[in-house]
């Protein structure tokens, strides 16, 4: 029970200016909406956000960008956000673009205590510049490092008071590899249940990776690209 906090405000109370933060989600899918809202309310500035995407205008990390709270984005794709583009081109915002698989593995490596590994992604491109290159079994690879942070903020579907998490559908994305990658991992969940209610075989993220957990007040779950089929 000592992991359970009251709400997003309490969960992020010690996040300060210039913190580095992992934020789970892919696009707007599976993002920690409540913690993002709390960070916006708290107004901390100079954040470095490690997140696959940068949200859209008015939602997700887009809220923090709009309030100029973000100093730097570390992402694989940031194309959905015009405010992002404006700040980048004006030099207000730094951005590090990282291949998506490398980003996921660097987060997983941070959680798993692996300081560096080799991947072929980006070999021969500008991503490889300044990086160690090595051949294994006739193929070229570059060395990538773990990507740690002060805080990891993730979102799950169900969670228990011991911090165990279950994700729903494609919301697992970066939430799972970021669990435990930061010094302190905060999980917000749609439903918080007492420890013992989740099937131990079905837990996606064991509680050991989670330091704080709370049930989010509200999940808007905005859809970025609503695409539908016609009924035959």
């Amino acid at each position: 029970m000592y992991k359970v906090v009251k709400n997003a405000e309490e969960a992020i109370h010690d996040i300060t200016d210039n913190s580095t933060i992992h934020l789970g989600g892919f696009g707007l899918c599976g993002i920690p909406e409540n913690c993002i809202a709390a960070l916006a309310k708290k107004g901390v500035k100079g954040l470095t956000c490690i997140s696959n995407n940068a949200g859209v205008e008015g939602f997700g990390i887009g809220i923090l960008l709009h309030q100029r709270q973000v100093k730097k984005m570390i992402s694989s794709y940031v194309g959905e956000n015009a405010e992002f583009e404006r700040q980048l081109l004006s030099g207000e915002l730094e951005v590090d673009l990282i291949p998506q698989g490398t980003l996921a593995e660097r987060c997983r490596a941070a959680a798993a205590g692996i300081p560096a590994f080799f991947t072929p992604a980006g070999y021969g491109t500008e991503v490889a510049e300044g990086k160690e290159v090595r051949e294994f079994d006739g193929k070229m690879y570059i060395m990538e490092h773990w990507l740690k942070a002060d805080f990891s903020i993730i979102k799950a579907w169900k969670g228990d008071t011991d911090g165990n998490l279950i994700y729903r559908k494609t919301t697992r994305n970066f939430n799972l590899p970021m669990a435990g990658a930061g010094r302190i991992t905060i999980a917000e969940v749609e439903e918080l249940v007492p420890a013992g209610q989740l099937d131990p075989d079905q837990i996606h993220t064991p509680g050991i990776f989670i330091k704080r957990i709370f049930e989010g007040e509200k999940f808007e779950k905005r859809i970025e690209q609503r695409t539908v089929s016609k009924k035959a």
């Binding site: 892919f26 696009g27 707007l28 899918c29 599976g30 696959n52 992402s75 694989s76 794709y77 940031v78 194309g79 959905e80 583009e85 980048l88 081109l89 673009l97 291949p99 998506q100 698989g101 490398t102 980003l103 996921a104 593995e105 987060c107 997983r108 991947t119 072929p120 992604a121 980006g122 070999y123 021969g124 491109t125 500008e126 991503v127 070229m140 579907w157 994700y167 729903r168 559908k169 494609t170 919301t171 697992r172 994305n173 970066f174 939430n175 799972l176 590899p177 996606h204 779950k221 905005r222 859809i223 970025e224 690209q225 609503r226 695409t227 539908v228 089929s229 016609k230 009924k231």
Partner: protein, 219 residues
């Protein structure tokens, strides 16, 4: 000459039963609409799904179920969800049989450029660099020339690269072309397109050996 659907249709003929396939955004997405009869393939979406199905019916969209293009989708029987590290373990570990993606430029040595135009806003490479670096088989689906009328099949890419020596086959509105150790090799002509048309549109070295068949597009 093929339209976009025609390109997708021709590429769909490359699918083999049991293939795991990753489709990029744009023309590649259309391939899913033209899977030949009797062929069963599984689509991988790198945001964390195997067995990606069609768009949901209106009212059945689920914000928790999207593809790598952030579109609402559905899941097929036998599908599964997983995290991004596992997703790219599949890709990097060469478990995906075929990757189909678009490109701005392809070189005669199989280099590909499809993520960045100097001077323009850079949106990021997403999963493209991981995909091209590790795919067992890559087919590029693209227009043969760009909007300025310049060939996209070049001796050497001029744009920042996405990956080196990785493309195996290109399907355009004009032709099917393979990357060989000696350069681009013409395999098939699109209906009504001559070898000369293709030569003119191809800036890189184009190998033309013997009679070049016109492609068959099964419906």
């Amino acid at each position: 000459m093929l339209d976009k659907d025609g390109i997708a249709k021709r590429i769909a003929q490359e699918l083999k039963n049991g293939y795991y396939v990753n489709l990029g955004i744009g023309i590649p997405t259309l391939v899913a609409n033209h899977i030949p009869e009797g062929i069963s393939v599984t689509f991988q979406s790198e945001n964390g799904m195997l067995g990606m199905g069609p768009f949901p019916f209106e009212g059945e969209e689920d914000a928790d179920l999207i593809n790598a293009g952030k579109q609402t989708v559905t899941v097929m029987p036998g599908g599964s969800y997983f995290d991004s590290a596992t997703s790219f373990a599949m890709i990097r570990g060469e478990h995906v049989d075929l990757t189909i993606l678009g490109a701005m430029e392809v070189s005669e040595t199989g280099d590909i450029a499809n993520w960045k135009i100097p001077g323009k806003m850079v949106k990021g490479m997403g999963g493209a660099m991981d995909l091209v670096a590790s795919a067992k088989h890559i087919i590029v689906a693209m227009q043969h020339v760009n909007k300025a009328g310049e060939s996209k099949l070049l001796p050497k890419c001029t744009l920042p690269l996405t990956g080196l020596h990785c493309v195996k086959r290109i399907v355009t509105e004009l032709a099917v072309i393979d990357i060989t150790p000696n350069g681009f090799k013409l395999i098939e002509r699109a209906p009504g397109v001559s070898v000369d048309d293709i030569k003119k549109a191809t800036e890189g070295k184009l190998i033309v050996e013997g009679e070049i068949p016109e492609m068959h597009l099964y419906l």
